[in-house]
């Protein structure tokens, strides 16, 4: 048992030194696995902003994750083929420069989140879950039926996209690129949670009438938060596409949305570092249980069941002194 600040610091230090394991074990695959943990943690932090702090149960965050992946894949595809991207009468060149790709990913994910959020936030509860799922499924089926970019087979990237002075093909370098994004995401979301937007979001989750009675429009607060959440998840999708050098409709599927949601719940919904723990344990469990039995999902489900019944605040609640739940999340 330790203080939350200490645990957070230890988590970051632990992640920082994770690649040492792959050097010691001389196993590059493990680094790729660690990168996946960090990327899913970024996606989880993005979802947690609206799920844990805003009470919006989005079951369609794969839409942003997948869009980020496809933006990355499509830009790289056109760069490699020397064919411009045609949108109506306009033509754009592809690129393999990650800095540009990330900017495009953030822009497109934000626009998609604005669109989905605008309509979804007119509903609440189970309808919100269904409408976000429906949007994501629309994109999923669209990607399947889009032969230009591989349809059901997906799209391969021959090389990882690049950043000047870094060899992104080196797994350890790529891990640290993801790690830096994780740190940036944590700092950014931490800022948000302490900001006017953050306090308004947390209040809107609990009592919309009170929020409205002090002059705050909870719909606007939720929409802006939804956009930020979508953009962060989109960025994670972009990193994921580069990690695997492959993007397919799978990352737009409801299973992907569920996976991100599960790791958030597993780690702890009401704390910033919860999704990082969740992503770590989710991937480790997947690998560990997957090595023992083919039905690893069954046992994962069993673990989640236990947690939801007995530790709603997630795994993080077992590691820190101050017990908390959503009632004391301010």
């Amino acid at each position: 048992m330790m203080s939350e600040k200490k645990l957070n610091f230890l988590i970051l230090i632990f992640l920082f030194f994770l690649p040492l394991f792959s050097i010691l074990l001389n196993d590059i695959y493990i680094t790729t696995l660690f990168s996946k943990i960090v990327i899913l943690a970024i996606a989880g932090i993005g979802l947690n902003l609206i799920l844990g702090y805003g009470g919006m149960v989005s079951f369609g965050h794969a839409a942003f994750f997948g869009l980020g992946g496809y933006v990355t894949g499509i830009l790289a595809f056109h760069f490699n083929n020397y064919e411009p991207i045609q949108i109506l009468v306009f033509e754009f060149e592809g690129t393999n420069q990650l800095l540009l790709i990330w900017i495009f990913t953030l822009i497109f994910s934000s626009i998609l989140a604005l669109f989905i959020g605008y309509f979804s936030l007119r509903t609440s509860g189970v309808y919100f879950i269904m409408i976000t799922l429906a949007f994501a499924q629309m994109l999923y089926y669209f990607s399947i039926s889009w032969p230009t970019y591989g349809g059901e087979d997906g799209l391969s990237l021959s090389l990882r996209n690049q950043i000047p002075f870094f060899n992104t093909m080196d797994p350890i370098t790529f891990f640290y690129i993801c790690y830096v994004w994780l740190i940036i995401t944590i700092i950014f979301v931490k800022f948000i949670l302490n900001s006017p937007l953050g306090i308004s979001l947390k209040a809107s989750k609990e009592n919309e009438d009170r929020v409205r009675s002090v002059g705050i429009n909870p719909k606007k607060v939720k929409l802006i938060s939804f956009i930020i959440s979508g953009a962060i998840t989109g960025l994670a999708g972009s990193l994921y596409a580069d990690l695997n050098r492959f993007v397919s409709p799978t990352i737009l599927s409801w299973q992907m949305s569920g996976e991100i949601m599960i790791l958030v719940i597993l780690g702890g919904m009401f704390r910033l570092y919860g999704p990082i723990l969740g992503a770590f344990f989710y991937i480790i469990l997947e690998q560990f249980l997957g090595g023992i039995t083919e039905n690893w999902q069954f046992w994962l489900g069993f673990i989640i069941l236990l947690e939801v019944l007995y530790a709603k605040a997630g795994l993080i609640s077992f590691l820190i002194k101050d017990k908390y739940d959503e009632k004391t999340s301010s």
Partner: protein, 249 residues
């Protein structure tokens, strides 16, 4: 002629066949506490909800300082200075007391969509929040979680939240409900001071408090206004005696 701060003009609201408010006309002037009384279900809270924008009227108009606010959203009306308390305490239970006030000050000033400034380090807000808590005698509980407060303290917090909005008009829906004698007296003394700052529309069942506070009293029954006047006029009104006051007075 004195201009009303709040003017209700032929306001009606029905829920199915039930007329909650039926062509209501009501004014609220500066430096005034106007009490609204009547049996349960007479439409008092419905009226407060319509004035504050939480419920859309079927017909009629609402004016705040001669501006027609009938179609404004609740949050817009709050920013214009219509501050309210709720019949059942409505505060952010998972926040600290002072954070409820920070939220409220933020709503008043706008800029609540800002994702970067640290609200907890805003000294102006902290100072103002403490000043507001001092008014309702809650400074010693500023850092307590609201969920741990007593019912009376939550009531006081709601009043301080209303005051934080720089109100032009205060709507208090049964603020004395469930309070002990000492807390009720604190509220009565407070409201007497507050009415100079902003007129108060007060819904209250505790007639002792109503008569101690109200400059004018209006009586609702089945959504219609059946009487309006000062304490003496209301007490001597036969219809009011029949439908509400009964043998109480």
């Amino acid at each position: 002629m004195k201009k009303p701060v709040l003017k209700i003009d032929n306001l009606s609201k029905s829920f199915g066949a039930v007329k909650a408010n039926n062509n209501l006309n009501l004014n609220l002037f500066k430096n005034e506490i106007h009490a609204l009384i009547g049996p349960n279900g007479s439409g008092k809270s419905t009226l407060v909800k319509q004035i504050s924008g939480f419920l859309k009227q079927d017909s009629g108009q609402i004016y705040l300082e001669e501006i027609n606010i009938s179609n404004y959203s609740a949050e817009h009306r709050s920013r214009m200075g219509i501050a309210r308390s709720f019949q059942i305490s409505s505060v952010i239970n998972s926040f600290k007391v002072i954070d409820n006030l920070r939220l409220s000050l933020l709503g008043r000033d706008g800029g609540y969509l800002n994702p970067l400034n640290n609200i907890y380090r805003n000294k102006d807000y902290s100072d103002e929040a403490f000043d507001l808590l001092k008014i309702v005698d809650l400074t010693n509980k500023a850092n307590d979680l609201v969920s741990t407060l007593s019912h009376g303290d939550k009531r006081k917090l709601e009043i301080s939240l209303a005051l934080s909005m720089n109100p032009k008009l205060l709507l208090f829906d049964e603020p004395m409900a469930g309070l002990d004698k000492t807390s009720s007296q604190l509220m009565i003394d407070l409201f007497k001071k507050l009415k100079v700052k902003a007129p108060i529309l007060l819904i209250e069942h505790d007639m002792e408090s109503v008569f101690a506070l109200a400059d004018r009293i209006s009586v609702l029954d089945y959504g219609s206004l059946i009487a309006s006047g000062n304490e003496k006029e209301i007490k001597s009104n036969a219809k009011v005696q029949e439908v509400y006051l009964g043998d109480e007075n």
